[in-house]
């Protein structure tokens, strides 16, 4: 187990190094750099040259990269050219915002999707299961690009929720409680936009799995012992059926943490995905590399978590992993 974990951690470190280096190099090689983007076409050649010299942008690619790599290995990701603040500080702050959004969305999606999946998986016919199934097929076809646009439309027309942002200006001045209340009003729209298609996905997976488990011999024998069907479904069959959802859970969490990019852009949520996008547009290359590192780190952590939860839910997998020579259980 320790060896397995060590291997996964090393693989994750390599992934993070490759992705952030790739992002840095590609952004560096791209036409235009921070200075030229900053001044636009109206800048004089001298002022561009001066800014370049100030940030060391004119150095040869190799020297600049090696310098960055050496410092990144010591967790110093440099200073953002736009914000004039350490990249790691910016990324940490934005990643916190993204985590709140991701966790809210995941909780919401689970609260909707899991019970719905248990209902449709345990009953083939009936009014409620058919309604849920139909809804779920529709929601699966609504990517969060569309749900967030539609929710913004609804919010703008009804004024139920603010259409964007994380907090209103000056909301925290009125006290912590007022600030939290304001935050709670901003959270539902983006988290619902992410949660709706996700809930449908969880529902489909759980439904299939519940259906499979209920046809197993142990389910029949439990029923034969006189255990009520309701109790069999909600207690005995639940744990063996949770595996597939658990398997996608970590991966979903990882990809949500690496930035629900579209939703963050549409609803102006100051998260990691948006930071990455802004950094790319401004050619703020150290910030780009920092965001890419954080994103791939979250993704790797999510898939590791996914495998661990799966191993917890299904002891048979632990055996297989111990004997798995590649460790590539994805």
């Amino acid at each position: 187990m320790v060896r397995y974990l060590a291997r996964r951690v090393i693989a994750a470190a390599v992934l993070v190094a490759v992705v952030s280096s790739g992002a840095l190099l590609l952004t560096r090689l791209a036409p235009g750099d921070f200075a030229s983007e900053l001044f636009g076409s109206g800048a004089t050649a001298e002022s561009i040259a001066r800014e370049r010299a100030r940030y060391g942008l004119g150095r040869p690619l190799g020297a600049q990269y090696l310098d960055w790599l050496g410092r990144a290995a010591r967790l110093d990701f440099g200073v953002s050219l736009v914000y004039h603040r350490p990249v790691i500080e910016l990324v940490r702050q934005r990643a916190a915002n993204t985590s709140i959004l991701a966790l809210a969305a995941l909780l919401l999606a689970t609260a909707i999707g899991l019970p719905a999946g248990i209902i449709t998986g345990s009953r083939r016919r009936g009014f409620l299961p058919s309604v849920i199934r139909g809804l779920s097929v529709v929601l699966l076809s609504l990517p969060s690009l569309i749900t967030s646009l539609v929710l913004v439309l609804v919010a703008a027309r009804t004024q139920w929720f603010p259409t964007g942002g994380m907090q209103s200006a000056g909301a925290w001045d009125a006290g912590t409680l007022a600030g939290l209340a304001d935050f709670a009003r901003h959270l539902p729209l983006p988290s619902l936009a992410i949660a709706l298609p996700l809930a449908a996905m969880i529902e489909r997976v759980q439904s299939q799995s519940m259906d499979d488990v209920l046809t197993m011999p142990f389910a029949l024998s439990t029923l034969a012992r006189g255990v009520p069907r309701r109790r069999l479904i909600w207690r005995d069959a639940l744990r063996p059926s949770i595996g597939p959802v658990a398997a996608i859970y970590g991966f979903v969490l990882g990809s949500l943490l690496s930035g629900s990019f579209v939703v963050e852009v549409i609803t102006a949520w100051p998260g990691l995905g948006r930071l990455m996008y802004d950094a790319l547009r401004a050619r703020d290359l150290y910030l780009v590399a920092g965001c890419a590192a954080a994103g791939s780190l979250f993704l790797a952590a999510g898939s590791l978590l996914s495998d661990l939860v799966q191993a917890w839910a299904d002891p048979r997998l632990r055996q297989r992993e111990a004997g798995d020579p590649t460790g590539a259980t994805t």
Binding site: L15, V19, G22, A23, L26, T27, L29, A30, P31, V137, V138, L140, S141, L142, P143, L145, I146, L149, V150, V152, L153, A156, R157, T163, G164, Q208, S255, S258, G259, F261, V262, V265, I266, G273, M276, Y277, L280, R281, V288, C291, A292, G295, S296, L299, A300, S303, A328, T330
Partner: protein, 321 residues
Amino acid sequence: MRTLAAAALALIAIAALAAPWLAPNDPGETFRAFLFAPPMRPHVIAPDGSWRRPFVHPLRLASRLEQRYEEDVSHPVPLRFFAGGKLARLADDSRGPWLPLGADREGRDLLARLLFGARTSLGLAVLATLAALLIGAMAGGFAGYRGGFVDEAIMRLAEFVLVLPAVYVVLVLRSALPLVMPSWAVFSLMAGIFALVGWPWVARAVRTVVATERTRDYAAAAVSLGAGPGRVLFGHLLPACRGLLGVQAILLLPSFILAEATLSYVGLGFPDTVPSWGSMLHQASDVNAIADFPWTLAPAAAIFAVTLAANLLVEKSSRVL
């Protein structure tokens, strides 16, 4: 249900192909007097309650400040079908153009842009899907057939691409290239990027099938009859993956349409001059405009329709896999 979904997809494809005939106006033509005009529904019942041949009430500006229009019921303009190379057009457009789905912020016909946008968006998605299938089938087939070191290397590469944060990769790759490019360059470039991100899914599935199929008797028979590796792989093993490739194609297609929409929405895809579903959404991205003129979200409905049809089409088959 599957037949219905397939028919819907075919219908959308035909509509895209027949765009110049179906769209009443040119997608680039701006009607300055009709910014954000609402959809103009064809009527068959006249205000006095009698039935007429299909006609349209022309729009009249009610408030310039609010961009509000009202129907001018006193001057119905009949529609003429199959005239002048169009399915339907106004018999007399002196009172303004016919905008069946309304107009965008520049006063362009949304229906025309939606239809011509379907050509761009669907064409791009189809091209990217074909490229991803080609790369995936080659890589997966080769890996599954040769086994050993080659298999290991190709599958490691595929797994590596799969764990990359796809959104970041696409964003970085796209922004590493010049922002302003000719539209054919944007088109092929985006198709290339999507194919590079999408091929591992295909490769993994194809590899599994090829690796098991090559141990079957018919593959052994082909080898003992003297067929070379190329013939066995392309003539016998890859055809066994046909159904699988079809499913993969239908799974990839909507995700590529969505990827185009996302990239264009944030301004890294097609420019405004090229109608695509993404660049149309980019036009509609202003919150206030969405609230007042919801018909500008029409491309979102189109994306939904294609995705839903694709999902219904593979629902049963993907469960089997």
